[in-house]
Symmetry: C2
Subunit: 412 residues, 2 copies
């Protein structure tokens, strides 16, 4: 894309009312727009990042047999009363609204209830199971405070997968599969090395639930990491019994602030029983379906990447999520740069081409702020040398690549 066509403009200063680094950087760079506290819009560059993150997640969910769907946001009281989660005293983040005839409605804070009720119309036999179904859908949560930029908002897209299985053993197998899928996701997003499988309290149906926590000073959570095993504990389960259970020693644990980037829950029959989701087994007996839920917030991941991978000059996007792979700058060599843009894009390489009539200093500074993985500079010197200057966003030193070899350089 030609940058002269991109409508967003970089801001010189971070907005004064934003305390979080992710929102400061993303707002300055024009990736997002603040609609109000806790509600952001995604502008073209930001939406490209968000879509890339969702596509990585989608691929890993499809790889384990997940079927994508999309559930409604509007929710009726009667459904949630069946699981005792309608009352604001029980679930304290509802946004409630009403039809014109006065019928109360809620905006989905999560989707266990509607997906369980829906699934009861489709699952009846042991032959219908297991089922893994997921969506990318907006959740609305009436958070008292919203202060972590796009990492904790009142309206956000969530990937939530729900598993429906015949018994505990099948559930455990699916649960383990999802855990591995999650690890692949965080690795592909460039967060693998600093994201820990973290044990948390489990509730009625399993000893533990699990979280994935990314180490960051911007995090609202605190975890205790055992570097040797790569395991971590949430503070809720930091006690002698759990340590013994997991084979960890208190003296080896390191305390770190962290961001919860994913979670997995064993739900047992908590939803299937009250909502009538059962199946007939081989003997014709009716059995409740065993469920699990598995969440990841794509925008929170985008915020986390902005927090932990950025540097003093701006954003730093991994190739897997960058809005464009290459940022091409023309420094007074528009014809050659234009040819380079055409050649790279024709080869399927995604390029943001800074074709604007502005200073070299401004182009370099903006390029660092926007944070594409590769910067390619075509200047007057290039016309003499026959080479473009090529620099990785994560490296200080630039190299040179001849124009003939540029396409194949990026096709590697």
């Amino acid at each position: 894309m030609k940058q002269s066509q991109l409508f967003t403009r970089v801001k010189r200063e971070a907005p004064k009312d934003e305390v979080s680094k992710n929102a400061q950087l993303l707002l300055r760079a024009g990736f997002i727009h603040k609609e109000m506290a806790g509600a952001y819009s995604f502008l073209p560059l930001g939406l490209r990042v968000l879509n890339n993150i969702m596509q990585v997640i989608r691929e890993e969910m499809n790889a384990v047999g997940g079927q994508e769907l999309s559930l409604a946001s509007l929710q009726e009281k009667e459904l949630w009363e069946k699981t005792d989660r309608w009352d604001d005293a029980k679930v304290d983040v509802w946004f409630k609204t009403a039809l014109k005839n006065g019928t109360e409605l809620g905006l989905a804070v999560t989707h266990e209830e509607p997906i369980t009720r829906m699934m009861a119309q489709h699952v009846s036999s042991y032959r219908d199971l297991p089922v893994l179904a997921y969506q990318f859908q907006t959740k609305f949560r009436n958070e008292t405070r919203a202060k972590s930029g796009i990492m904790r908002t009142r309206e956000f897209i969530m990937k939530d997968l729900y598993s429906f299985t015949r018994n505990k053993e099948e559930h455990e197998t699916v649960y383990a599969t999802l855990r591995e899928a999650y690890k692949k996701i965080f690795a592909r997003l460039g967060l693998g090395a600093i994201t820990y499988q973290t044990f948390a309290s489990g509730g009625m149906f399993s000893k533990y639930s699990e979280e994935f926590q990314t180490v960051s000073n911007a995090g609202e959570d605190v975890i205790y990491i055992d570097e040797a095993s790569g395991k971590a504990l949430n503070v809720e389960v930091l006690n002698d019994e759990v340590l013994a259970d997991l084979g960890l020693k208190r003296e080896n644990l390191i305390e770190r602030a962290s961001i919860e980037v994913g979670n997995t829950f064993s739900l047992g029959t908590k939803f299937s029983e009250p909502l009538g989701l059962s199946y007939k087994n081989e003997k014709g007996e009716s059995c409740p379906v065993i469920m699990g839920s598995y969440g990841i917030g794509p925008a929170r991941l985008m915020g986390t990447i902005a927090e932990v991978l950025s540097d003093g000059s701006g954003l730093v996007w991994p190739e897997s999520v960058a809005p464009f792979r290459v940022h091409l700058l023309s420094l007074g060599a528009d014809e050659k740069a234009g040819e380079t843009y055409t050649a790279l894009t024709a080869a399927g390489i995604e390029v943001l081409y800074d074709d604007r009539d502005t200073t070299a200093g401004e182009k370099f500074a903006e390029s660092d702020l926007l944070g594409m993985p590769w910067r390619v500079v075509v200047g007057k010197r290039s016309l003499e040398s026959g080479k473009a200057e090529v620099k990785k966003r994560t490296e200080k030193e630039a190299g040179e690549v001849s124009f003939e070899e540029l396409v194949s350089f990026f096709q590697k």
Copy 2:
């Protein structure tokens, strides 16, 4: 995809509380789920259709230079008071809610206000214009009645594009470009021949607005068509002055029920003035930006296709939007059908493979109901003849294609 893996099940009967054909068919076929009156969820097959429709729209919006973004649903009172559209007496389809501290919020019924305010942070000079920005985002509308299945719901995804131009001439050019893009969209979706550019009342800033109306008995609207010119009128503008203006004669007009599948509005400075969206022209003078808006509802289009292209046996999807291009049925020839499935999918052809252990009658009836464009049957006879039976959903007679030629048949 193997049908044995698909969790949705076809229902024998249409639900009794649905009066609209689109919802009856889509519910029976397992494409959608009814969450409540006016709110539907999209199950795997339905989501594939919806995504295909959105991709057609996206391609045409990108082709005219549209930049995709995604705006927040939560909206603050202060913003909409500036344009006098907060009051329920002015806009009567708001869903309102509130933060815990009592601050009133609304759920976006449309997005002129937020996009105009956002754009004011990015547009300042004549060099920044024109801009075309669009999104696919949920609208919430508190409709009194919801009775047309997925064609009029209280929660729906809309493609809304907004144009920002320097002056009336530039606006007219953009507006005409969008009109042509819309025509391409309806043609690609198989609705071109029965969808009419329809003149409607224009409001303050242009003589007419325009609608695109698809002829259908399921429609809530009535239009007057001049078949010779392909133009139509909304009842609002059916008067002698307008007829003279458009060169139409009353006696040539045919009255038809129709579904509004798109609309385009000239907004002038209605939003840019109160919300401070202006630019400096070449002389340094401040001028208000001239706006337009252009809507299409992907789910309404899906419902329209279900209404007008279906037949007595079920749904009929055009290739451009079908969840899968080919429905492959194995009738007691699982090994050969499995090989065929592998060969077709390896060639990039999207196949739903009915590998289930059920009767031929059931497979044929379900295949008609689900409505993929092509049906390929591999049965015991195929093993002798070396040929698969190939039938278009829209045709009665089946043909035969040899297994060697099947991939190339579908690659044509």
